[in-house]
């Protein structure tokens, strides 16, 4: 018997992306540069987060023509973003046969109450989270991969660190609880009890955990791996830098060799300018993308 779109198959692709770098690209040419630099997958989108911030306005799913052209250009998996709650954008992306859908806070939310019912899809979803409860709610809705949100388009790693430490710390804390205490913990995290039990027993999420939002340097990527990320998303950090192919290769190398500071040092040499950055602490409430989604 042959079964497609099982949870094993959905989360299995994320397993194969581990230890890798997923890069935001806006053109087939950028996708090719990412692939040639060793990206494990590309995220096809219309504008990188830094430009979405600068331009303002409503950020939506990308033009299918652009996504299809990127699929043509590379053989690595192609992901694409749908707005939070915009299940029709997700259906369109599924019809295009993208390999993963990112229900992303980087785009303007379409529903302020509900996320997409991800169980209804054959294509797997990755979702952002700032804490354990948020991650487990997304998994309960069918997400097959989680990424910490960070603060996209800033080049400031501080929010990524905060979210990764939060998620991992809360997982450790769950592990210290007695069975009888897990129901109250589930209530506190506003998360499904069966998933909470699973996380408490295993000491980890039941899906792969990547990090995103603010990675601009090889050292940033290695830091996030050391904090427990299983791979990294890099948005504006590569194609908003002065030498994207060189920086892309360097971030791939540092993600593989995060345990070896001499390799991270070697990868960090002579990369030219990093992306123009924004200090997250100076953003106003309304400018914080990580607050979208709940």
């Amino acid at each position: 018997m042959r079964d497609e779109a099982t949870f094993t198959v959905k989360s299995g692709l994320a397993e194969m992306l581990k230890g890798g770098v997923i890069m935001d690209v806006v053109t087939p040419a950028e996708a090719k540069i990412a692939e040639d630099a060793g990206a494990a997958a590309v995220m096809a989108l219309e504008r990188v987060p830094a430009d979405i911030r600068r331009d303002g306005g409503v950020a939506r799913m990308s033009d299918p023509e652009m996504i299809a052209a990127i699929q043509e250009a590379v053989s690595i998996p192609v992901m694409a973003k749908a707005r939070i709650g915009h299940f029709v954008e997700a259906q369109v992306l599924e019809a295009l046969e993208v390999d993963y859908i990112d229900e992303s806070e980087v785009l303007t939310p379409a529903d302020e109450v509900n996320h997409i019912d991800k169980w209804a899809f054959k294509v797997p979803f990755v979702c952002g989270a700032t804490n354990l409860g948020e991650a487990l709610r997304r998994i309960g809705e069918g997400a097959a991969m989680i990424r910490s949100k960070g603060e996209a388009g800033t080049g400031d790693i501080v929010e990524a660190v905060r979210h990764m430490r939060q998620i991992r710390g809360e997982i450790r804390a769950l592990g210290a609880l007695e069975e009888a205490e897990l129901a109250a913990a589930a209530k506190r995290h506003q998360a499904p009890l069966d998933v909470v039990r699973k996380v408490a027993a295993d000491g980890r999420l039941p899906v792969v955990l990547f990090c995103a939002g603010g990675i601009a340097t090889p050292a940033d990527a290695a830091l996030m791996m050391a904090l427990g990320a299983e791979g990294v998303f890099v948005g504006s950090g590569i194609f908003k830098s002065s030498d994207p192919p060189l920086r892309a290769r360097a971030i791939v190398e540092a993600t593989t060799h995060w345990q070896d500071p001499s390799r991270v040092a070697a990868a960090s040499r002579g990369l030219g300018g990093a992306m123009e950055s924004l200090e997250s602490a100076k953003l106003t409430e309304a400018q914080l993308l990580a607050q979208r989604g709940w």
Binding site: M1, R2, D3, E4, A5, T6, F7, T8, V9, K10, S11, G12, L13, A14, E15, M16, L17, K18, G19, G20, E35, D36, G38, A39, A40, S75, I76, P77, E97, V98, D99, Y100, W119, K122, V123, P124, I139, G142, R168, I171, D194, V195, K198, D202, G203, R204, L205, P206, V207, V208, L209, A226, L227, G228, A229, E230, V252, E253, T256, H257
Partner: protein, 251 residues
């Protein structure tokens, strides 16, 4: 799909039954949240335990991809595991696993680290090797050339066409094996010395040439350790052989 008997599954039910996600994923474990992988010999499992011999050391290529799941499975079977990222990590290995991942990423990594030649030498020296999915691709004529096969990449299609299925694998005892195929390749061509062990839709998805085994699927994501036992059995045979040869020369 559908015409070939496939069906979409209600993942919700499946997840409930499995207690959420049958896959051992996540960065859990030791103090830094990761499993300590380079643990030495363990007394349990199949490898080397029975007669008190030292457990074999198996390298798992860890440049990118699903290396942790392979390491977990090998540990469970009693093998020592070394994560391989640079040529020095290949010293003194009894066997090697090339895991799944992105074949382009892995090819570039092997090139960057200068791992191609040392892995070829291992293969030529008869060291047992298991490649799964992207690992199968790495072993083929166009990559490491360790096996006389030619892989067709992403042959089953994009992620939407990924699937799991029960498959008969020649040489494995017991029930069919649950093969998990993720954007999987198949073997498009192979030489006469290559034995095909399993097929899906008429395409070879598992093969063996001497002690080099290649599978297009991921048994490391299931609880079925029979493919890994196949590798460890080859490792045992080879160690037995070299011990006998050594004893002969000495006495």
């Amino acid at each position: 799909m559908g015409a070939d008997g496939s069906r979409p599954t209600d993942s919700r039910t499946e997840m409930r039954e499995a207690g959420i996600g049958p896959i051992g994923s996540g960065a859990a474990g030791a103090a830094d949240g990761r499993e300590a992988l380079a643990i030495g010999p363990i007394g349990s499992g199949v490898a080397g335990a029975a007669d008190g011999r030292e457990a074999p050391t198996i390298g798992v290529l860890a440049l990118q991809g699903g290396f942790a799941a392979h390491a977990r499975m090998l540990h469970r079977l009693g093998a020592g595991v070394v994560e391989v990222r640079v040529p020095a990590d290949l010293q003194a290995l009894d066997g090697l696993v090339i895991p799944g991942g992105e074949s382009t990423t892995m090819t570039l990594g092997i090139e960057r680290e200068g791992l191609a030649e040392p892995i070829r030498r291992l293969a030529q020296a008869g060291t047992p090797i298991l490649g799964s999915c992207a690992g199968l691709i790495m072993l083929d004529r166009e990559h490491l050339g360790a096996m006389d096969i030619l892989a067709a990449r992403n042959a089953f299609g994009r992620q939407l066409r990924s699937f799991e299925a029960d498959i008969e694998v020649r040489g494995l005892d017991g029930p069919p094996l649950r093969g998990i195929f993720i954007r999987a390749p198949w073997i498009a061509e192979h030489g006469d010395t290559v034995e095909i062990l399993a097929e899906v839709d008429g395409h070879p998805v598992a093969a063996r040439q001497g002690d080099i085994i290649a599978v297009a699927f991921h048994s490391e994501l299931s609880d079925d350790d029979r493919v890994h036992r196949l590798l460890l059995a080859a490792v045992d045979r080879r160690r037995e052989h070299s011990r006998a040869a050594g004893a002969g020369a000495g006495g």
